[in-house]
Subunit: 156 residues, 4 copies
């Protein structure tokens, strides 16, 4: 039992490190992974001058929003693989993560990306053998819902 | 007549400078505007270590692809406003550009984002009074079609 | 006060009748409007031989699913106009409904459309001056989530 | 060689009959398959009173448009399997068609669905081992572009 719990903890640690520390563009955006379990993940990042897309309103670039929603969708799809990781080696788990890829993504920009900090979360809608579907949301630090999205991910 | 041609040239120059030089996140990505007319625009950017999203395959982050497709969709939607700019002051044209915003975006990731340089283009599908719809494509320097997308933009 | 309540009741009655009784294709599908308020609506319909799309599995045609999700998205977007209807005549409210139109729609097919009855609901994500965004879901009578969707609607 | 040509002809015939004659909801809509090859397919259907969605403007229901775009996307995805059908029995080809399913669909409603006849076509963007991506278009008989769409299909 303790072995299983330890394996589960290692699985999520590995996944968190991959998305937070090892993916160069996630590092460029300053993405931090806040929570992670079988249902999904939560990420956060801070406003920065070079993330601005609308100089008239000083709001986030739509591409930052889509990039973070894609990232939180990808980590959510990957987290859904936890049950399949039982008994796999570190290298096999890494190979499993390497196969995860976005098939397509929809982003709905609901309100201007104004704020100092933003958080994004993903919730798994369906995790099939080959394909996972995730719904995502992004909030600003004043709790305004900035954007929602849906992503389809190859997972097998 | 020369006055009109001159005004048209100034309109596109202003739009190119906005997307290439003034939007901080576009500068961070290294986006260059290559062509621009009433039917759409073309952008280019180069591979860079910090734009990588898949460390296993050394390919572009999906968020870079969606950001550039959103940018080329936005410049295409803005370019469709050229006919409405006749007789407007520089400040009025700027105000027109400031109102353009992405309503929603779909991105289809077709092939791994491998390459040294990438180009993205937008083609206007419909430019209504309030809303424009644009289809976008991204190719790698070996002519592989990396991704396609569709964006809906508020333009009025 | 009673006048206001009466006007609100009439607004929703009118909207329910439009979607359930007056739109020919909704009648062809056998759509029934079950609930309706400012946050959204709920619809139901029954399986029928001629709604089948996959003869191998005897499941709903994807087009039936997208049609019903679009309908419940449209009624949800229209319901968000309730606050604007205060003091309007019947003809003005009808004109308001006539202006509502789908800009774009995404549908995610999660599980086979198997069942005897299906229900679909919409939840408003944002109701702006011109554009509303709605998230939709469809369940089968055994509570399985069959499909989710997102629609953008012109409302002004 | 003649055997191959004959097998190819039978493959497309089988696929045309499936979509035109055997799928009940396609029959309800009156869909006719006009052309079919490895790059995609073309379908047509006629305006009918019970396909109307907007009684104010007498235009096609958005759900009819999405249903036909999904159908033409599905037949296009299926047609891309032609190369894999070599040497398969009728039953195996049928099983291949039975596995094709829509993962997700985006529809952009560009102009009112006014007209007497409509045609829809699909063009394959990518046919992978498991997943195909198709772009679709629908025109009215006066050549107006009514709608475009993009669909992702499970094909393996």
């Amino acid at each position: 039992m303790d072995v299983e719990i330890e394996a589960t903890r290692r699985f999520y640690d590995k996944l968190r490190k991959l998305y937070q520390d090892r993916l160069p563009f996630n590092r460029l955006l300053g993405i931090r992974v806040d929570a992670l379990n079988a249902d999904g993940g939560t990420m956060a990042f801070s406003m920065r001058e070079d993330l601005i897309g609308n100089v008239f309103q000083h709001t986030l670039h739509g591409g930052v929003i889509s990039a973070v929603l894609d990232a939180v969708g990808g980590i959510t799809a990957s987290a859904s693989l936890q049950a399949r990781a039982a008994g796999l080696s570190e290298a096999q788990i890494e190979a499993m993560f390497a196969r995860v890829g976005t098939i397509d993504l929809r982003v709905d920009y609901l309100r201007p990306g104004k704020g100092e900090r933003f958080s994004a979360s993903g919730r798994i809608m369906r995790a099939g053998r080959k394909v996972a579907v995730v719904r995502m949301e992004m909030h600003a630090n004043d709790d305004r819902l900035i954007a929602v999205g849906t992503g389809t991910y190859m997972i097998g």
